[in-house]
Amino acid sequence: MRTAHTLVAALVLMVGAAHADTVQVAVAANFAGPVKQIAADFEQATGHKTVVSTGATGKFYAQIVNGAPFDVLLSADDKTPAKLEQEGHAQAGTRFTYAIGRLVLWSPKPGVVDGEGAVLKTGDFRHLSLANPKVAPYGQAAVETLQAQGTYDRLSPRFVLGENIAQAHQFVASGNAELGFVALSQVTKDGKITEGSAWVVPLSMHAPIRQDAAVLAKGKDNPAAAAFLDFLKGDKAKAVIRSFGYDLP
């Protein structure tokens, strides 16, 4: 009798394991903080497993086109997922905006950045860090902001470019650049900026950073991929996303 129970228990476990799938998620560097929390919640809620890779959206695009094993992309922009869908690398009808990014001018030191970004016009600094505008949406937004402010030409010789927004943040956080344009999510916890001084760039100064997600061709038959995006649309994930300073559509 006892053996029969054990057998049943073992079978139940095996069946359970068969239903748990693994979703491989490529995530834009700015979303590294929130996705950690969301992935943990998702695993707990569904029993599926996640494997998260963070990096530059442009690099992920090249990797996906060349056969990278990702099921889902959480992009830093809306162009890349649209392009992937058009080219057949992403599943049609799965795209949606999961967050709207906010750009912030930030220094780890208090009193360096004022609430209007006037430091860009008058400040005495050697290096201004931003993500490479050629490949990173946050870098592009930073350039648009400087152009709107009329400081681009004067400041461009002081640019140091991070390979992605994580490196742009690291250059500033390590003190090697005095200030830089980073994602609000990188310096925010529970809705508050954690340290230093910051100017949250008004949305009027750059094109909105609409961050879209999509199921990729590789994740078409993976139930965990669709489940992950469903979870991302849910209230629990939305609360996490908001707490990192993102807007929601």
Partner: protein, 226 residues
């Protein structure tokens, strides 16, 4: 389709960096290699190991420590700031410092092997002919170690041209300052400019092959100094 102005700037910058690094490495590496080849000091093993470290360490380790120590909060960064030089990350001199460390074993090891292969009696003979130590070094040791010098220069130069990880971490991708060829290729690939990437990447492949071909033709492998 061919090289853009930005590509050529990167090429020029890379050649400047590799050239300056090679000169500095010969100045630093020659006495160091001589010492390593001749000394009986118990510190020999430790110094040799430190020199060889860049061969086995990931560039991220070197890049990380350089960023931290040369930055405004690091000990060397405080020193350079106090000397009025500012901090070195994101500058050409910073890349030179990094490259000298990174390519050190490629210069010191061939020189050490070449010096070690010089028979002691040659130097003793020079001494009996009243050559001073410096005289003996320049007129006996250096000519005998010529293949070692050639290998050291070529590998030091080529290895610096091929540097990527360290530059990515402390360079900041600044045109004509820190955007070397390898970073420019990376940018092209990231931006999906594959045609541009092919020009530079193919050029690098050809350059590296020709350099090594020349070296191995003049200094066949297995001969002294390699």
């Amino acid at each position: 389709m061919s090289f853009s102005a930005a590509d050529l700037t990167a090429v020029g910058l890379t050649l400047r960096l590799a050239g300056l690094t090679t000169v500095l490495l010969l100045l630093v590496g020659t006495p160091l290699a001589w010492w390593l080849a001749r000394t009986r000091s118990p510190a020999k093993g430790a110094v040799g190991a430190v020199v060889a470290l860049p061969l086995v360490l990931p560039p991220t380790v070197l890049g990380f420590y350089l960023l931290v120590t040369l930055g405004p909060n690091g000990p060397l960064g405080k020193l350079t700031t106090a000397l009025g030089l500012g901090t070195l990350p994101f500058t050409f001199p910073g890349l030179v410092v990094a490259s000298v460390l990174y390519s050190l074993p490629f210069v010191v090891q061939p020189l050490t092997n070449a010096f070690a292969a010089i028979p002691e009696r040659m130097l003793e003979a020079a001494a009996t002919l009243r050559a001073g130590p410096l005289d003996a070094f320049f007129h006996v040791a250096v000519p005998l170690a010529r293949p070692g010098f050639l290998t050291a220069m070529v590998l030091g130069f080529a290895h610096t041209v091929g540097e990527f990880g360290v530059v990515l971490m402390i360079g900041g991708n600044i045109p004509n300052q820190t955007r070397v060829i390898s970073v420019q290729i990376y940018d092209h690939v990231e931006a999906l400019e594959y045609a541009e990437a092919h020009w530079l990447a193919g050029g690098m492949l050809l350059f590296s092959f020709l350099v090594l071909l020349a070296l191995y033709t003049i200094n066949p492998p297995g001969k002294r100094g390699l």
